[in-house]
Symmetry: C2
Subunit: 157 residues, 2 copies
């Protein structure tokens, strides 16, 4: 098993893994990004990524970017973290997670952050095993822009 | 009242406003950033900011950065949004919020996102008035790095 930075050629697989997780999270219809958009935004440096490869096949990925916490300072934000269903329970996720953590540490970030669905027990167990802190008192707030997508609520800025 | 991009000279006031909100949010001890660190990170482009000015005084601010949603694509993330206590109820917050939204729209982002404490009723009312969507099913997960701060839980990557 190899953990390595994502390349342009991996992007369709990274997008497919993201979609596989969105199905597991019961919100595939919430996905608006396309593989073409991922490629454009990846090449523009709008996100970074690592993949796990087994026998030449991309079986897992992390998708992250450098963010900022007004309280903590520099951080890495992990927006997606997926191991394909049939490759779970072999330590692929742990290796991907470790590589992500090492990257945040290497850059001098004070923390790494991500989110988890409150019912996703296997993920919560994994994060607790990795000594992560789970915060339950913050809600997400979002506004979508009209013309950019067909989501439920849009407003004019 | 003037809403304008933050300059280097505003940074101490931006930091003080962030701290004022952290006190209101009952977590001043969670703040590890300093005004010096803000200045360094602002000049390095690690965050962006706008301020509200009244009679030459900085009375409010937004602190944000460009982020990425694996489901929605380009977005702006609003990490802090403060109007000083004695300047509330005069529409300063609405003008700062509108300027932030306009910035996200101008860049072609699909959405803007931020977080709110579940007990912060005035903030929730403001966001609902502005047609934002509040999501309650996601928890934050964080890991802090050793050596970078004196927080409660640290792990070695």
């Amino acid at each position: 098993m190899l953990i390595r930075p994502t390349t342009e050629a991996d992007i369709p697989y990274v997008h497919a893994l993201m979609y596989e997780l969105a199905v597991y999270e019961k919100e595939p219809e919430a996905v608006l990004t396309t593989p073409e958009e991922y490629l454009r935004d990846f090449l523009a440096g709008r996100f970074e990524s690592m993949v796990a490869e087994i026998d030449g096949k991309v079986v897992g990925m992390t998708l992250f970017f450098e963010a900022y916490s007004s309280w903590k300072g520099r951080m890495l934000y992990l927006d997606d973290f997926v191991v394909s269903e049939s490759y779970r329970r072999f330590g692929v996720g742990q290796k991907l997670f470790d590589a992500f953590m090492a990257e945040g540490h290497r850059r001098g970030c004070r923390m790494v952050k991500w989110q988890v669905l409150d019912w996703n027990e296997p993920a919560l167990q994994f994060y607790e095993k990795n000594h992560a802190i789970v915060e339950k008192g913050w809600w997400n707030v979002k506004v979508f822009f009209p013309g950019h997508l067909g989501d439920t609520t849009v407003v004019s800025p």
